[in-house]
């Protein structure tokens, strides 16, 4: 995923292979009682083939709305502009009927609460086979065979028995595995996982994260892993994008973002995140203030009012990102100084 600022690069596809997903100037505005909420406000980025991108931000950053804007799952009273090119095809403005051919075999999604996103009155078998029969035209027994195979792939023991289960008969971790199996059933090119482990216990979270990363690699699928928890994304993605108040603050290789965050917000957020090595009773670094009003966001950098390095130019900063290193971009008028060189690619290493 690499974002372009429209002004500096005329046609990036002339020099680079076409990305799987190419989002430019995406805006997603929602109507509310208080006015139009600018949940996503001019965001541009790319996700390459076989790439895992982490999308992190606190609540109100717009990360979930963005995933829904890409999927075309926006609420009724909303407005979506800009461009979402998926395999070169424009998804914005696509009729719902054509969009429904994309959901499943092209892009699929895993949600936070597996208990609620699975149909409570339909057994696991039908939830898994429905999409395959519809999109891949498989017969009943063929689809069943693939469902069993999928359940094995996501680490479900005794899959024969599970096929007959209803969601309420399974634990949260098991539901999430089934949900992932269902999302993988039609072999999507892009999987969007929106807080897939937030409702799960820490040992189960670990299993699910390992699972997502493994299938993403084995299938050479692209993935967007959305989370409010920064460390969770660190070991499971190639690139990371940090979102704040409807805009991207920073994008880069996961290593760059975690080892040398350059946007003041990313650095502050990392410093405020508790880790299991945090020194006992030592205070956390605070981010003063609160999120700006999403109906009337301030001009310039949206983090300016809370930033300890804010000065004049911050108020004139546009939504465009500037490169600070190869593949590393920030929207910050006074970025954190660069430490020693950090690798431009790669997130984790495999040998654990």
């Amino acid at each position: 995923m690499t974002e372009q600022s429209s002004s500096e690069q005329k046609d990036p596809r002339a020099v680079k292979p076409e990305p799987l997903l190419h989002v430019t100037h995406l805006r997603a505005y929602l109507s509310s009682r208080h006015g139009v909420v600018k949940a996503v406000d001019d965001v541009s980025f790319e996700v390459g083939h076989g790439e895992a991108m982490g999308l992190v931000g606190e609540s109100g950053s717009g990360k979930s709305v963005m995933s829904r804007a890409i999927m075309g799952l926006m609420p009724r009273r909303s407005d979506r502009t800009g461009s979402v090119l998926f395999k070169g095809r424009e998804l914005i403005g696509l009729p719902r009927k054509e969009m429904s051919e994309i959901w499943g075999p092209q892009i699929s999604m895993v949600f936070q609460d597996p208990g609620r996103s699975l149909n409570p009155v339909v057994p696991v078998e039908r939830q898994l086979t429905e999409g395959m029969r519809r999109h891949l035209g498989l017969g009943r027994s063929e689809a069943r065979g693939r469902a069993l195979q999928l359940l094995r792939e996501v680490g479900v023991s005794d899959p024969e028995r599970r096929l007959r289960n209803y969601p309420h008969e399974m634990s949260g971790g098991m539901c999430q595995r089934v949900m992932i199996a269902a999302a993988l059933a039609c072999e999507p090119d892009l999987l969007i996982a929106d807080e897939p482990t937030t409702a799960l216990d820490v040992t189960i979270q670990r299993q699910i994260l390992d699972l997502l990363r493994r299938v993403q690699r084995e299938r050479n699928m692209s993935m967007i892993l959305i989370s409010h928890n920064l460390p969770l994304v660190a070991g499971r993605t190639d690139r990371t994008a940090v979102m704040y108040a409807g805009r991207l603050a920073e994008t880069g290789s996961t290593r760059q973002v975690f080892e040398s965050p350059r946007h003041r917000y990313t650095a502050a957020l990392l410093a405020a995140t508790p880790t299991i090595t945090h020194e006992r009773h030592s205070p956390f670094r605070l981010i003063p203030g609160t999120l700006p009003n999403p109906v009337k966001p301030p001009a310039g950098c949206r983090f300016a009012a809370r930033c300890d390095h804010f000065h004049g130019p911050c108020h004139e900063l546009g939504p465009d990102m500037t490169p600070v290193a190869a593949g590393h971009h920030v929207a910050c008028a006074d970025p954190v100084p660069a430490p020693a060189a950090v690798g431009a690619r790669g997130g984790e290493h495999d040998g654990r």
């Binding site: 971790g173 390992d210 460390p231 660190a234 405020a272 006992r280 956390f284 605070l286 290493h349």
Partner: protein, 361 residues
């Protein structure tokens, strides 16, 4: 892993003592023992962190301490008073010394009262005169960082999650309690707000001379606030000890697995060990022997048969495990030394648990 056993108790000096606590819930599917024979102590001025995954009984225990939920058997005393035996009238007086804050702060505030009334409510029940109540409520709002002029007359729905938790803290501390029980106080909050609340609690603790029981599933948060930590699994105690020592060198295999499941903000080493397999078993039918034995990478035949009793594995460190993760030479207890030596001969098991010992153990 058993909660049974009293080796880790510190007795007389404790402000809060819990002995052999059992909490059971009766459901259509049978009786669930949420807390199964757990004992622990909290010394005055100490913060005890209680960690564990869902279903381990940590919240049931917190509620039982304040008698907000039922308890089936056991003894609980705070500052010498037997809470489990107190009648409602005595309990009302005792609750002045024992306050609680909850995960869903907004849900714990009366939606129809103004912030100032909420903070002063405990004082009113306690019979403090109106003028004094107002003054103390105003002071408390200042203490928790809410400008009284702005917040006094607000209703809970006008507050953000972080502000609501501040009001809940002000309400709890207005009575100057000795003991504060916090049940997942920051888990519903964003990282930046969470840091504010944790810093606030650390600041208020010495000012109010508080003893704290801090219940949370987030191990990183618990480490930052706790002096001692109690690790629970399926209603039983696994490990107890100084929080830094437990985190740096866990001796119970479950504690270790739990710590290794917490992602680190490090792209190279997101996790330090291999993942734990399987799911938490149903509390309706807990496994025999050690309740963790089915998932334990170091389990031996004995673990499924006999329930380990809690014992001192390292100085000041207590674990309920037949085969604790510590070098035999460090073990003061001859039984534990023998057990560690046993483990070197795997007795035909495919797991070789000695290979999983932490470095420097």
């Amino acid at each position: 892993m058993a909660g049974s056993g009293t080796a880790h108790l510190r007795g007389e000096d404790a402000l809060l003592s819990v002995r052999n606590l059992v909490v059971e819930y009766h459901t259509d599917a049978g009786t669930v023992q949420a807390v199964s024979d757990v004992s622990f102590d909290v010394l005055p001025g100490e913060t005890l962190g209680i960690v564990g995954e869902s279903g381990c009984g940590k919240s049931s225990m917190g509620r039982a301490v304040l008698r907000l939920g039922g308890m089936t058997s056991g003894e609980i005393s705070c500052a010498g008073e037997r809470i489990d035996r107190a009648d409602e009238k005595t309990m009302r007086a005792l609750r002045r010394d024992m306050q609680m804050i909850f995960q869903n702060a907004l849900g714990s505030l009366n939606p129809r009262r103004h912030v100032k009334e909420i903070v002063a409510e405990g004082l009113a029940i306690d019979g403090v005169p109106k003028a004094e109540r107002d003054r103390r409520a105003t002071d408390m709002l200042e203490e928790v960082g809410l400008t009284p002029e702005r917040f006094s007359d607000m209703l809970p729905r006008q507050l953000s999650g972080g502000q609501a938790q501040r009001v809940a803290i002000a309400r709890a501390l207005a009575l100057r309690p000795k003991l504060l029980v916090c049940d997942e106080p920051v888990s519903a909050l964003d990282v930046s707000v969470q840091a504010q609340i944790l810093n606030l609690m650390e600041k208020l603790k010495p000012e109010f001379d508080l003893t704290v029981v801090f219940i949370a599933h987030d191990l990183a948060v618990v480490r930052s606030v706790s002096d001692r930590v109690l690790v629970m699994y399926l209603g039983k105690v696994c490990e107890f000890g100084d929080s830094v020592e437990v985190y740096d060198n866990p001796v119970h295999p479950y504690t270790r697995a739990l710590l290794e499941s917490v992602p680190l903000p490090d792209p190279d080493r997101p996790f330090t060990g291999s993942p734990l397999e399987g799911d938490v078993p149903s509390p309706l039918a807990p496994p025999t022997g050690c309740r963790f034995s089915g998932r334990c990478p170091a389990a031996q035949e004995r673990c499924a048969r006999s329930e380990p009793e809690i014992r001192e594995v390292l100085p000041g460190r207590f674990a309920a495990c037949h085969y604790p993760l510590a070098a035999a030479a460090d073990l003061p207890d001859p039984d534990a030394r023998a057990a560690a030596a046993d483990r070197r001969e795997p007795q035909g098991r495919e797991h070789e648990p000695t290979g999983r010992r932490p470095e420097g153990a």
